[in-house]
Symmetry: D2
Subunit: 209 residues, 4 copies
């Protein structure tokens, strides 16, 4: 499968490009310039800064390729084509997707719920975007505690406190490569879909037996 | 609400009776004898040995009461009335119910899953009945590791191993009273149901908003 | 061994008295009155409110007994006898003692350390006294996060964040009876000591092989 | 500081060399050949296969440099010089060192102890060498449970089961780079030591305030 990575010199783009090559994808790294004439691809992964999105769209249109947008913060989502398979994925981790599915179940029941997230000291934003997303999946106004320390790649813990019992759901990232791996999984699924706008959940859910 | 506890001298029966009184239920402890004439109740909780079941059924029939059967190992379930609300609940913990709901979601996705259960040293059976029930909820042939130590009331942990990430679901019992508390919750819900045979899941699910 | 429990109608006193009887101690419950004439004991456990301390001291002096003071908040510690074995134990848990020994080792090394404590919602004071004690054992100005939820009897977690690794030390109380059990362990050790003032650590340390 | 890495093309050697350069060390990667004439270094890190040790020793002797031997399985340790600072470090993780210090304290007390280690599925040996080392630090015949799953870089958990309480000590590796980072820390400390044979513990202990 031929893959174009837009923003391939950014931190995430580099990881995706590297993982993709390791896994036998035919990868075209795209930095500033566009795809050369005649170079067609099956999937475009946008890992660029917000201003890169229109380039990703142009390449996808030109190749009639699926388009996976990873970067968050894009404001001009109206440029997304509706005649191609498109997915906007703020968090490409399969485990986080799983956790959010579980949170939807958990949140439908009564009880005290609390969320604790831990990340390395360099992470400035509190709470993490993933924590906010899980809170939304819970569908409740839960308290979020943010801890920062060491080099922790990312841990999210949801605690349900019952009467004389408790349930904890924990997601632990081992390293950032997981987002690259997840993006490639999403890209593979997206490439086989008919045109339309898909959520991470739509795509991962199609892994269901 | 008037509650008859059959097997009220057994370990679980005693806890149920005590908790129920603490919570303002009108409790009739039933040991060997039957309900006295004229004594009607709304719910019968069977916490007896297998041979006690027919007495519980007789009392429930006589009072037209709901019947909650907690003890496992009953062989003569054909005696259960079908014109009363009835529930057979091998594990009355709300948290374990929640965990089993989550396991059903988790089990539908690919990946490596493993189950670890820890109980006090006096617990002889391995794996625990709850672990087997969770395995069934996962719908997969997962490996179960059983640890025994100290006075641990009960811990069940499901691990999902992904690529560069993992998800853990943990249920922790604080003390055996939780099963009494759960039984009372089930009894309250069951008492309001129309006649029929209900599972723990049916009843707890009706707590859904 | 003959044991006098002062404050035997309080929450902790009652648990101690009950556990002690279960374990074959000869227990004298003392509420308002004093020991009857001729009633001698080997150990006095003070689980009273601050104002009960002088009575405990009187009983211990009269019997030439060891004196274990559990209640915190006693202001008149100068009344403690120095010709008897005496121990003031704000936390009688063996596991917490262990954790505090470990914290002393951990605190001697560089690195980021953080403390998280979780207790049931009824616990008003934040952080817990045990958390403060562990912070002192660490010998550092660590951040303490206090979580409150459900019926959690008490969990203390110390996290050491390293470079690409972390260490966590966790103490989990299963139920309040553990403090009664710990008090009895301390009482047994204290009864065999020569006169003097002992810390929890002195006594538990004598369990060392 | 000038650093020679012997075995710099191996998995660990490569990581060490990379981390060292990132941290401003002056690194000489050594594969098959020896140090060029006139090239002196302060520390030699041996990350080679067993047959590489004599070369590392020769280079260290020639530069009068400290020698840190990381690889395990070296049989010819008698070739180690005794007129240079030398350390043989089977596990260069600071956190594992910390955990083993804690295990020494824990193991001196009575009680039930258990060890659980989890590693990625590619790890064939059971139990892990670190688990065996921790068992030795505990000084007791503890049960070790080995779990294998996913891509887990390495988790070691020691559980102490008490009466109505438990203590858990957990070390979690985030990624293999931690061993490179640890090796560099050890190298820095070793370089300042007088000649002699040092253990990992000797060196990390000198970080004590």
């Amino acid at each position: 499968m031929k893959l174009a990575v837009v923003g391939a010199r950014g931190r995430l783009g580099r990881l995706i490009s590297l993982e993709a090559k390791n896994r036998g994808f035919d990868v075209i790294d795209i930095f500033r310039e566009s795809l050369e004439v005649g170079h067609k691809c099956h999937v475009v992964i946008d890992a660029s800064l917000p201003e890169g999105l229109s380039k990703s769209v142009a390449i996808a249109r030109d190749s009639r390729a699926a388009l996976l947008v990873l970067s968050t913060g894009h404001k001009n989502l109206e440029v997304l084509p509706n005649d191609l398979p498109v997915c906007v994925a703020p968090n490409a981790s399969f485990g986080v997707f799983l956790l959010s599915k579980l949170c939807k179940v958990l949140g439908r029941f009564g009880g005290e719920i609390e969320l604790i997230e831990t990340h390395h000291t360099a992470k400035k934003d509190k709470p993490s975007g993933t924590a906010l997303m899980l809170k939304e999946a819970l569908g409740r106004d839960v308290n979020i505690t943010s801890l920062r320390g060491g080099t922790v790649p990312g841990e999210h813990e949801i605690r349900f406190y019952g009467e004389f019992e408790e349930v904890r759901l924990i997601h632990r990232a081992e390293k950032r490569e997981l987002f690259a791996v997840g993006a490639l999984k999403l890209a593979l699924i997206l490439a086989k879909k008919p045109p339309g706008l898909y959520s991470t959940e739509d795509l991962f859910s199609s892994l269901l037996a």
